[in-house]
């Protein structure tokens, strides 16, 4: 048998075919995602769920309603498309006038809900779906066997890809949609019914996802979590292709599938990481992806909630209240819960420094938390370092990682920034899974707590609690001073208008890098402390869902506010702790709370509070002095 680099040719062909088929799914899926992203500016986290709805829907139609494959191939996308339109009309539209980030967060919540409900209905086992009788069997190509159904998948996706590309690039629609993402008000003022158009686009994207789902049903595992698994790969594909480029999404989809297939033949362990490696490589060489020419349009930003007046006294009073509250809380609440919440709160605050004040939303912040955790655990367990040194080592490692990652990431902005950080985080995850020191799936367990500075025994629960409290309050205090400092002010200015900040003489890159490193170090501190508390460092801390969770906490509480992330983490941790008895419903409830929070108080709980108070303050001011409308320029010199 012929071999290449020791791999049998037949295996290589088989993997290649598998790669191309996966590529076809990736292409169809990322196409919908790219359309929604390019036209609405929303990174649609519900895309995986919509795909899953297509596949599970086909199964449901067949088994309950007796509707076969061919009708389902038309019906399912229609139903899911209609569902998408409703979602857009009644949920996403409410945040369409503010930063697209909020739309993204809503889809994030929706994905949780849909997946939870489907898991409740259909369980999490695989649902078998037979290949339609017309396409059973296959043809022998001489060097390999090609099943008909697989050939059909490739043909069908190519057809759909072409149609979509044509509808958007070759008609006026594309220009309308792109313009509407930039300034939808103005496009409306030109006489275009933007709301209906957006609704149709989202519906269309959803239908594309469902179409891919039905195509996948006979050959992939149909189950309610199938969407979540494929989702971040699809994101990477869209970014590789270049945001906003339909052609790019299609080509990158096939490219990613093939790369994955080949890696499976040569080095199977890396097959799930290779797409991210590819993405990182492409973005470093071509900062806007393969076909992305478009520089990201300036998103309409929500301004940071701020009080019209606040006194130093008020600030310290609030901080004091929080400190005292947390100090006596263990008398009433489970200390383990409080400690967990505090470490997450510190993590969220660190994330908030970048996301809120620097407007750099990273999708990979878990890498700092996790890396620091592993280093601390290893240092404490294998080297026997005392906890303060172990924590220091963990924090330092996160800072160094932050320096490297920051150097790569801060050269881009917006979604590209988020995606590069995600790619790096996926590589860290891969390392954590593969390196012998990290213990793979098991992680590093029973990490000794040891004695602080050699004499303060941390195995005493009270001491441990006080130690965590001190770390949290220290970190919080540092951050709150940081954002008021001149450094913090400049950071906010860069967030607003980078060229202007440069023209005032600030090296904006250095400020962003510094912010990245500080944020990474504090996340590391949180991760290290967490390991000392829980005595285990595991893969969950470097998984991308952890990065998602920190986004959730921060935005729930109020991004760009001091206390928001703290409150957000307590709420999320509390939900996870106290709702866990409800089983499958936890994700549904979590998603629902998240969606409701964004819809009702989109500045987050704390942000909404601040806005309310400051509106009243302003009202008072206004009654005090009536402002003249046309103030004059007075030349004083």
């Amino acid at each position: 048998m012929t071999t290449i680099f020791g791999i049998p040719m037949a295996l290589l062909y088989a993997q290649l075919l598998l790669g191309i088929i996966n590529g076809a799914f990736y292409a169809t899926l990322s196409l919908g995602l790219a359309v929604i992203f390019g036209m609405m500016g929303i990174a649609n986290f519900a895309h995986g769920a919509l795909y899953m709805m297509g596949a599970v829907g086909a199964w449901f139609m067949l088994n309950t309603l007796g509707i076969g494959y061919w009708p389902a191939l038309i019906l399912c996308p229609l139903v899911v498309g209609a569902f998408g339109m409703l979602l857009e009309r009644f949920v996403l539209r409410r945040v369409s006038h503010i930063d697209h980030l909020y739309g993204m967060l809503l889809t994030f919540g929706i994905a949780f809900i849909v997946q939870g409900i489907f898991r409740f209905w259909f369980g999490s086992a695989g649902l078998p779906y037979a290949i339609p009788s017309l396409l059973t069997g296959g043809v022998n190509l001489g060097f390999m066997f090609l099943p008909y159904y697989r050939a059909w998948v490739i043909v069908a996706s190519l057809g759909v890809c072409f149609l979509t590309w044509f509808a958007i690039e070759k008609t006026r629609l594309g220009a309308y949609l792109r313009a509407a993402t930039e300034n939808s008000k103005l496009v409306q003022a030109f006489g275009i019914n933007v709301p209906v158009m957006i609704m149709l686009v989202y519906g269309g994207g959803a239908a594309l996802a469902a179409f891919a789902g039905v195509l996948a049903a006979p050959i992939l595992q149909v189950n309610p979590t199938m969407g979540a698994e494929v989702l971040i790969v699809i994101f990477a594909v869209v970014v590789i292709g270049g945001l906003g480029s339909i052609k790019g999404a299609i080509i990158a989809g096939f490219l990613a599938g093939i790369a994955e297939g080949l890696t499976k033949a040569f080095y199977p362990e890396a097959s799930t990481t290779v797409v991210f490696l590819l993405m990182a490589f492409v973005l470093v060489v071509m900062p806007t992806g393969l076909f992305g020419t478009k520089t990201q349009a300036a998103a309409t930003s929500v301004s940071l909630p701020a009080l019209a007046h606040e006194s130093a006294f008020m600030r310290w009073a609030l901080f004091g209240a929080m400190a005292i509250g947390l100090a006596i809380a263990p008398l009433f609440i489970y200390p383990a819960f409080l400690m967990k919440a505090m470490t997450y709160a510190l993590f969220a605050c660190a994330f908030n420094l970048m996301a809120g004040y620097g407007k750099l939303v990273s999708f990979g912040h878990a890498m700092f938390l996790g890396t620091a955790g592993y280093v601390t655990a290893y240092a404490a367990k294998t080297w026997g370092l005392s906890p303060e040194l172990a924590i220091l080592a963990g924090t330092a490692s996160a800072a160094v990682l932050g320096l490297v990652a920051g150097w790569l990431c801060t050269r881009s902005s917006g979604v590209y920034f988020a995606m590069i950080s995600l790619a790096l985080a996926q590589m860290i995850y891969f390392l954590a899974l593969q390196l012998p020191q990290t213990g793979g799936e098991d992680g590093i367990q029973s990490v000794p707590r040891g004695a602080l500075f050699g004499f303060i025994d941390l195995s005493n629960p009270t001491t441990l609690y006080l130690f965590v409290l001190a770390v949290f309050l220290g970190g919080f205090l540092f951050l709150s001073c940081l954002i008021r400092s001149p450094f913090g002010q400049i950071l906010k200015a860069i967030r607003e208008h980078e060229p202007r900040a440069q023209s005032l003489g600030y090296s904006t890159d250095r400020y962003k890098l510094a912010t990245f490193v500080i944020s990474a170090a504090l996340s590391g501190l949180a991760g290290s402390t967490k390991v000392i508390v829980t005595q285990i460092a595991s893969l969950t801390d470097v998984h991308w869902s952890m990065s998602g969770e920190v986004i959730l906490m921060t935005f729930l509480g109020g991004v760009g506010t001091l206390y928001g992330p703290v409150l957000g983490s307590f709420v999320v941790v509390a939900m996870q702790n106290y709702l866990s008895a409800l089983g499958a419903w936890v994700t549904v409830i979590q998603g629902a709370v998240f969606v409701i929070c964004i819809l009702t108080f989109r500045r987050g709980i704390v942000g909404e509070l601040i806005t309310f108070v400051s509106a009243r303050q302003r009202e008072k001011d206004r009654r005090g002095i009536a402002m003249p409308a046309g103030s004059k320029v007075v030349t004083g010199t």
């Binding site: 301004s303 001073c481 906010k492 200015a493 440069q502 005032l504 090296s507 002095i625």
Partner: protein, 239 residues
């Protein structure tokens, strides 16, 4: 100096000297390359060919922020203020660097007496005292332009590049801003792009006329503005 975008020369073989202490205006039809010249001088664009010297030292390779730190500060044609920040904060930002506070991670800029005083001065000078604590986004377009000028002047630059400072300003503001530019010009070098010819004739000692990326004429205002080729390219007859 030249720069090309996809083969289109926006600025082509321009030799340009700005003398210390001068108040120099660049005029020219739309798309002549004036803003591009500014972008080149402040390094927001990298020239395809050519060199730039500041006080005899080559600065062609520097970054925009480094140029600004040498005292060469620009304003933008399409207004650039920090929208979400208050007017006071906008001005403080311009002042922070000069006060050497820009890398302070802790502490509050408002504790710095000199900075606070200077901020008040600037607010007063530009008539923002009463509006100091509202967000810049709430200003009307014209007032935003004034704010941008205020922050640019506040950095106390030695060379000031102003891109159409009068655009969008009301008549009453134009006179005041012109006066302001005149006062600021003492001891500084100013390069001005402007389409308002009354302002140019009043302020500028020398003018350069650009057209199609090249320099058409240069010299004292009265001399240059009456040249027939300039009239044909720019003013279009009596004005």
């Amino acid at each position: 100096m030249s720069i090309a975008f996809n083969g289109f020369y926006a600025v082509k073989n321009v030799d340009f000297t700005l003398h210390e202490g001068a108040l120099h205006a660049v005029i020219g039809p739309n798309g002549a390359g004036k803003t591009t010249l500014f972008n080149l001088l402040t390094k927001f664009l990298q020239p395809t060919e050519g060199q730039i010297f500041h006080r005899g030292v080559e600065v062609t390779a520097l970054k925009p922020a480094a140029i600004a730190r040498q005292g060469v500060v620009r304003s933008f044609q399409i207004s650039a203020v920090f929208q979400a920040l208050t007017i006071r904060e906008n001005i403080e930002l311009a002042l922070l660097r000069r006060s050497g506070l820009q890398w302070r991670l802790l502490g509050n800029a408002r504790r710095d007496k000199a900075l606070v005083e200077r901020t008040e001065q600037v607010l007063e000078q530009f008539g923002f005292t009463r509006e100091a604590d509202i967000a810049a986004a709430e200003l009307s377009y014209g007032r935003k332009r004034v704010l941008e000028l205020a922050t640019t002047v506040a950095t106390d630059p030695s060379v000031l590049l102003l891109d159409e400072p009068m655009a969008g300003l009301g008549r009453e503001d134009i006179d005041r801003v012109a006066e302001l530019i005149q006062t600021t010009a003492k001891g500084r070098t100013i390069l001005l792009v402007e389409h308002n010819m009354q302002v140019v004739s009043r302020l500028a000692e020398r003018i350069t006329v650009m057209a199609r990326g090249q320099i058409l004429a240069e010299g004292p205002y009265s001399e240059v503005s009456s040249r027939p080729d300039v009239i044909a390219a720019y003013t279009g007859g009596t004005h």
